[in-house]
Symmetry: C2
Subunit: 338 residues, 2 copies
Amino acid sequence: MNLGIVGCTGAVGLEILKLIEKRQVKYNSLRLFASKKSLGRKFMMNGNEHEVEELKSDVFKNLDCAIFSVNSTLSKKYSVIAINNKCTVIDNSSAFRMDPQIPLVIPEINIDEINRTKSQIIANPNCSTIILNMVIGPINNINPIEKIIISTYQAASGAGLKAMIELKSQAKSFCQDEKYDTRIFGRQFLWNAFSHDSKIMSNWYNEEEMKMVNETRKILKNPNLKISATCVRIPVLRAHCESVSLTLQNKININEIYKILEKSHGVKILDDRQMGQFPEPIIVSKKNDVFVGRIRKSLIDDYTVELFIVGDQLLKGAALNAIQIYEIISKNNSLMTK
Amino acid sequence: MNLGIVGCTGAVGLEILKLIEKRQVKYNSLRLFASKKSLGRKFMMNGNEHEVEELKSDVFKNLDCAIFSVNSTLSKKYSVIAINNKCTVIDNSSAFRMDPQIPLVIPEINIDEINRTKSQIIANPNCSTIILNMVIGPINNINPIEKIIISTYQAASGAGLKAMIELKSQAKSFCQDEKYDTRIFGRQFLWNAFSHDSKIMSNWYNEEEMKMVNETRKILKNPNLKISATCVRIPVLRAHCESVSLTLQNKININEIYKILEKSHGVKILDDRQMGQFPEPIIVSKKNDVFVGRIRKSLIDDYTVELFIVGDQLLKGAALNAIQIYEIISKNNSLMTK
């Protein structure tokens, strides 16, 4: 398998490189691509030096699979070229997620979509969507979901490496009583929280909220699912939290919810009511699992369970999910047509 | 009116002193009380020096009104002594809030409760409860509330001055690559978020969540109101945010919601969808008004409106609400029985 990593110097790209080494991901050859300004950067991986190449149209003819972590515009342009060269694409952008021909995949939840669609492009869902669905997907299989109300607490990493650097720089400015650098978010982020800075749509939800809504409907195969999200950024570096009120079709049984989540791959329950220990970004950062706690029967009615979910935005929210997809399709030769 | 401020050196007490000067609050005499370790501290107010006295049982015989910002145990002990000495008490603790004989007052929402009950103790609601009810109270008067689902984003100030200092000290430790001081919260708070550290109750909600639930039911005079809260602390200094999904009994009309909130005293709408400017802790800190934005018809159904509410926890969430109550009762001699 000749593997290419497109956008290897961004926050997600760098995590992909770390995971390839850490998980001993198999490949014949590995090539790294980025924009011109990263040309010549070198990465040592498994004892071999890899030099960053410029992303160009002709690179795909020698690749079997490429993992893209670039913006939607670049993804759209180069994915078409890649698949015309019979190179399978795993795409982290939002470019193809809502295309009905293209599977939107969380391996633990709906890996079958890859074989069903036989698509050469596989879309990685939005980070908040993955973290949510890792927990609600298994519950939905046993007791179908009627309604979901979500409030997010999203980390800087969702806006990339520069956003993480800006947030940390604001802590330094605070200590030195200097003016804050606010180039990325246009506002003080330290000691602040703000509505997700994506575009407001015609229904007054923002783009991030509508990604959660539409992608969850697609993943759960329930186009009429009642779901609302409020997406908020908080000054945390790399793990997203989600407070979720989940109404099911049948009366909830909290023991059953626990049993479902205990058996779910990639999910870890942290719900220590005696010690007051529940999922937190500091605990979950750099962990592969999505953590869930504060699991309780809602005061609202007998059909609703309240949950607090935390996942590393860069790992399961992006890089890890993409690598898992690569690991699965690289065993499944039917997709690799060269 | 001989006024006493009990607990004048805490985060809320200090704000009360600032408000007394800023709002030119009227009094005959003003005395400041705190625990032994603050004895001798002096505050200049309106050109006069006030020295902190020790809180003792005999101080109330010369006071007409005392504003308490101390813990529940101290409030319970000294409030009884105060009213036995015909000194009206405005209490910021949770000691009396759920007592059916005692009014739980937000002046803009239910000031009538003071005259109705003729109670000599008046309870100030929990900070998150005040901020929530400032916005939902006026809506409830026009279109009664059926159900409320809240997720909070709570600032350090809710845990007092030492918590604010600890959070700021962690930014300094981050910059100097030193170990974090975690005495107050027992965990890293910088770059983190965690479930509110109050006790978990038998229904697995925490104490802060149940304060919001029970106090809101009392304020809205709706003991069976369907309401659920998830309370979370985030690394912000002094303003609380609340993401609220509010289901009403009649179909919502967004223009009507706007009109209700525009007319509500102490509420400010900040909902600029073009500029992407909504309420944020940094904007709302040190402001008297409770801010609301992201006002939108929910995707869930035609009866639900989604809101993002932010209020200064120390001002309208505590000190300002108490001072407003004092201003009202000091004009209303019927309560002042000396």
